[in-house]
């Protein structure tokens, strides 16, 4: 076996994992900034999130191209194949989270100077929960920690619960006065996006479990 070929392959695999982590940190930061911009009405920060999104998109393309190249040239199997196949899936979920952050940032200039306090506090709460999930799933990815990934999946129901109650509040708010509809609608969209971020974190966690154990979570649950 040609050791230099193998060691450059090993380096390429490590590099892909590093870039996934980088992408994860970028989307986490983007979401954090979008929520801060929302809370404080900081349009400049919101603009930064919007302009930063192509960096995330480009990183996705870089990771995917390199992954496809390694599959073609190195014929990876076993864990190597799982690293690369999960990289392809995880970049998709991470890129979507980045998109949600961007779309939330785009709504910032449209919101009233003082949006509905109750909704904003729910949004902040869900946002924190989402960011916590992203950070945990990245940690689980780096440490190949299936248990931590499982905790991320379990945390998603908390996100869903807060989102559901917030949607009910917003519905009452809009029903109370038709002048509230425009803002209520925007806040609803934000809540919906944060709920989707939680779902993407769940997907990411499922891929970490597959990467670590070689098995699907559904398969593991069926066996229980």
């Amino acid at each position: 076996m040609n050791m230099s070929v193998r060691s450059s392959y090993n380096q390429a695999l490590t590099e892909i994992q590093r870039q996934i982590l980088q992408m994860g940190n970028l989307v986490s930061q983007a979401l954090d900034d979008a929520l801060a911009a929302l809370e404080t009405g900081n349009e400049e920060l919101a603009a930064q999130v919007i302009f930063g999104d192509p960096i995330i998109d480009n990183l996705q393309i870089t990771i995917e191209d390199k992954t496809v190249e390694l599959i073609a040239l190195q014929q990876p199997i076993a864990k190597d194949l799982r690293i690369l196949s999960t990289a392809l899936k995880m970049t998709t979920d991470l890129e979507r989270i980045g998109d949600h952050a961007k779309k939330i940032a785009k709504l910032v200039p449209r919101l009233e100077p003082e949006p509905l306090p109750l909704a904003v506090s729910s949004i902040t709460q869900v946002g924190k929960q989402d960011i916590d999930m992203i950070q945990k799933v990245l940690k689980a990815y780096v440490n190949l920690d299936a248990q931590l990934a499982l905790e991320v999946i379990q945390a998603d129901s908390k996100v869903d619960d807060i989102c559901d109650s917030c949607k009910r509040v917003l519905l009452e708010y809009m029903l109370a006065d038709k002048n509230n509809i425009s803002q209520g609608n925007d806040l609803n969209k934000i809540i919906h996006r944060l709920e989707r971020v939680g779902d993407h974190c769940t997907n990411l966690a499922e891929w970490v479990i597959y990467l670590t154990t070689g098995r699907r979570i559904q398969q593991m649950e069926e066996e229980k």
Binding site: M1, R6, Q75, P76, I77, A78, K79, D80, L81, R82, T213, G214, R215
Partner: protein
């Protein structure tokens, strides 16, 4: 699933050197099993225990049991010629006899007493068809087998086995001397043959094991480390030594 081969606590010694250590394995009928592992790991040695080819090597001592279709093949009363008829072998380099294509195939049946031309004609055609070679050679059955390409010669050797109606085909790196196209033909042939035969293939080519086998067994230093379905073996091996070997991290 019917297990056609069972080895229990099989050990093999070349003089003082132990080449196989306590091998326990079962192989299902009409499936392809690949043996993989670094050179000297015992995979070919184990393959040869399955039709007692190691008997021919001086100083070999075997303990444990190998059962094929319910028979202990190391029992004293075993007819070794009959065993090798049932459990045929294809080698790394194609080794056709220096005779015509027809005579290569008819050789086995003739040795086993078949003399009728019509029967032999039919056997030759059936065997060549079975080895996906008939269409390529039907017009030159009486020309020398040595004029064929390497890939054709290897398929001729497979056809020669089929002519004596075996149950099990042992193949020791059957494609390592072949070009990629011939390799592909042999691999396709394996897929067709498994409807009728149980096939065991020793290979150094991981992709070949992954592509063409149903089960894979990994050997290391005379031990059988892990044996499982090929799709699981190549996506999620359980033993770290298997993972390191198949991903090319040692060996």
């Amino acid at each position: 699933m019917e297990q056609v081969i069972t080895a229990q606590n099989l050990c093999l010694f070349y003089g003082k050197h132990q080449a196989l250590k306590n091998i326990n394995i079962t192989m299902p009928r009409n499936k392809i099993m690949a043996f993989v592992g670094p050179s000297g790991c015992g995979k070919s040695t184990f393959l040869r225990t399955l039709n007692r080819m190691n008997d021919l090597i001086e100083g070999v001592k075997i303990t444990g049991q190998v059962n094929i279709a319910g028979q202990d093949i190391y029992a004293p009363r075993t007819d070794v010629v009959e065993l090798r008829k049932k459990v045929g072998m294809v080698f790394q380099r194609p080794n056709p006899f220096q005779m015509s294509i027809y005579d290569n195939i008819a050789y086995g049946p003739r040795i086993h007493g078949e003399t009728k031309k019509s029967v032999l004609d039919q056997l030759v055609e059936e065997s060549l068809r079975g080895a996906a070679l008939w269409d390529e050679v039907k017009d030159r059955l009486h020309s020398s087998a040595l004029g064929m390409s390497g890939g054709q010669q290897q398929r001729l050797c497979i056809a020669r086995l089929l002519a004596v109606k075996p149950d099990i085909l042992l193949m020791d790196e059957p494609c390592s001397a072949l070009d990629p196209i011939s390799t592909m033909r042999v691999e396709e042939l394996l897929g067709e043959l498994k409807d009728k035969y149980t096939i065991i293939i020793v290979t150094h080519n991981m992709q070949q094991a992954a592509r063409s086998s149903d089960y894979t067994a990994f050997f290391l230093l005379g031990e059988m480390v892990e044996c499982r379905e090929t799709n699981t073996m190549f996506t999620n091996p359980q033993d770290k030594r298997t993972e390191d070997y198949i991903t090319g991290r040692f060996g």
